[in-house]
Amino acid sequence: MRTANVRTIVIWTVVGLVGAAGWSVLALSRGENVSAAWMVAAALGSYAIAYRFYAKFIAYKVLKVDRTRATPAERLNNGIDFHPTDRRVLLGHHFAAIAGAGPLVGPVLAAQMGYLPGTIWIIVGVIFAGAVQDMVVLFFSTRRDGRSLGQMAREEIGPFGGAAALLAAFAIMIILLGVLALVIVNALAASPWGTFSIAMTIPIALLMGFYLRVLRPGRVSEVSLIGVALLLLALVAGRWVAESSWADTFTLAPSTLVIWLVAYGFIASILPVWMLLAPRDYLSTFMKIGTIFLLALGVVIAVPTLKMDAVTDFASRGDGPVFAGSLFPFVFITIACGALSGFHSLISSGTTPKMIQKETQVRMIGYGSMLMESSVAIMALVAASIIDPGLYFAMNAPAGVIGTTVDSASQAVANLGYTISPDDLARAASQVEEQTLLSRTGGAPTLAVGVSEIFSQVTGGSLRAFWYHFAIMFEALFILTALDAGTRVGRFMLQDMLGNVVKPFKNVSWKPGLVITSAIVCALWGYFLWVGVHEPLGGINQLFPIFGISNQLLAAVALAVCTTLLVKSGRLKWAWITGVPLVWDAVVTLTASFQKVFSSDPRVGFFKQRSVFQDAIDDGKVLPPAKSMDDMQTVVTNSTVDGILSAVLALLIIIVIADALRVCVRHIRRPALSTLSEAPYVESKIVAPAGLIPTKEEKEEERRAVTPAGT
């Protein structure tokens, strides 16, 4: 029995007290202004305890990570994709790969129900579900030479469940791309400053690509510095453009932006990787890590006060303007990535396991990175909760609800139970040098307003507009990169599927196949983008729930694979580690799907919505917020497509879970029938610490490895 020393006990008691103090203040204060510092305290205290105790327990007692076992990086080292990477570097790589727009956008939208439900789910969800999923997938994929989630599903569950998982992943990718593109369109529409700055990223990336390919191959740091400098110049120049006679050229309507974006996605995805994708990726990674770091610094220095209610009335009534539906299940669906993200399982299986030095490092890389991502989500929630609630609802309610003038918006916000004067609305827009902030749905503009608020508390108000556009640029940059990269991944999946029918498609370099599949993928997400922009009921509030549902369904697939593997590898006793999050996630997500399909509330249920509008068409009536018969037809078509999509996704996931359950039951009854495709044990020769800071024993071990005994 190991005994803890006094210092350790004191430290962890203090950490526990800090977390408990944060939670108590958040939970007990009503109607008074709470400082964001308490939210940060609750989060960091809980993360520290979870990492120290729960993650360690899972790594050593459940997974039984083995520090003497060689990882694929060591066994299959080819100096390129398989190579043992320093844990601190890999933490950066993995974090940069999992962090994206999701954890920034979801919490902003979820703030409609108040900051408390979001905070609780982001923290509790990451500790018991999200970080566990990332770590366990990483571990099992490491034991299987870095197999992807799809391959593991096929090998460990079966071809049927595997095929369903693959099809679901493809559909989810399409929805993801459509919704992310919609976020960008809503942020850039009628904003010459933003549109110009983002457009300039294309020539900047081309220049960087040329530099890396022809002038100085591989000199990434210097080309990234040049790129970031040009990017900041483009950002400053955006203001000059917006004030010049060019402003009209860059003031684009949403439907024009749709065409530009789809064209961009298609052309970018058929160009060689070195031209646009690779340099863009360097730029967006630099900006991403830099901005997240600045934001954390800003929150700590400015310590802003939360202005949003802890829990709003929309939580129980379920009639919120940002997205419809009540707290359960929709707050969980909306937050998605910050607490539990199915997409992370694609990174945790595939790229990262081929680079990890030691099995013991899965805790730091898998669990640790996800805790960092969750803290990004907390910061996004802080940013959304410190702005005036009246402004928040004016920005996030669809145009059908609040109209198009500051007067109608002020009136509509008053009807929602909040107050903001028309003058304040106009001033908020002019402060960030935008024509309007009304109905800028999608989360990105709201986040940008929050970020500019925090930053200008540190740097002074004169830079407010600059910070707003800085935040917009930062999000747009990596969403555009995601459009390009995501189209390529979607195309790859499609080539694989079509290749089973038409042979030449299997060859991923076959040019006609490449162009055709790229066009299909762009057309599919372009369809959802088009629908989102032209939806009379509001694109984000119709489509974002489908995005959340699909992400959480992918998480269900990952957790089902993990649970099956725990059972099959003789860890039945510990199957609840991923089994409980799986059940919770399945209940939440399938409830949401069920409500989206069958609810009798036309704001929530797609088919009810369809029938209400169809009946009105039959009677020759136009229902608001639709303005014409065409709008009515659009609503009917869209709700039919959305409803069918929700149902099909839910069905696919039920198939995967049922198939996984079948395999588990069969294993418990007749273990001899199961096969486990784990790579055989090879002894490791690498010596490396498990955590960020090496322990005394690990330092000693490293010293011994450098100077072998006897010399």
Binding site: N77, R88, G92, H93, A96, P217, G218, H344, A485, G486
Partner: protein, 65 residues
């Protein structure tokens, strides 16, 4: 002074590793050690091979939402 220089070296190492600027050096070291008879590619050829690999399997280096 010495500790400052060490810190700067550490930062440079981390940035080079994180951006994969060090990929070529790593590959050369790998080839020299494990395949001494093989020819070491030039940096230009190596970087081209790396992007070609990403072209063939776009799931490598994919980023999340």
């Amino acid at each position: 002074m010495r500790s400052l220089r060490r810190a700067l070296r550490g930062v440079r190492w981390y940035v080079r590793e994180l951006t994969d600027e060090s990929a070529y050096d790593r590959y050369v070291a790998h080839v020299r050690k494990d395949h001494p008879q093989a020819r070491v590619p030039t940096r230009r050829a190596f970087e081209r091979m790396r992007t070609d690999r990403q072209e063939k399997d776009p799931r490598q280096g994919f980023r999340c939402c």
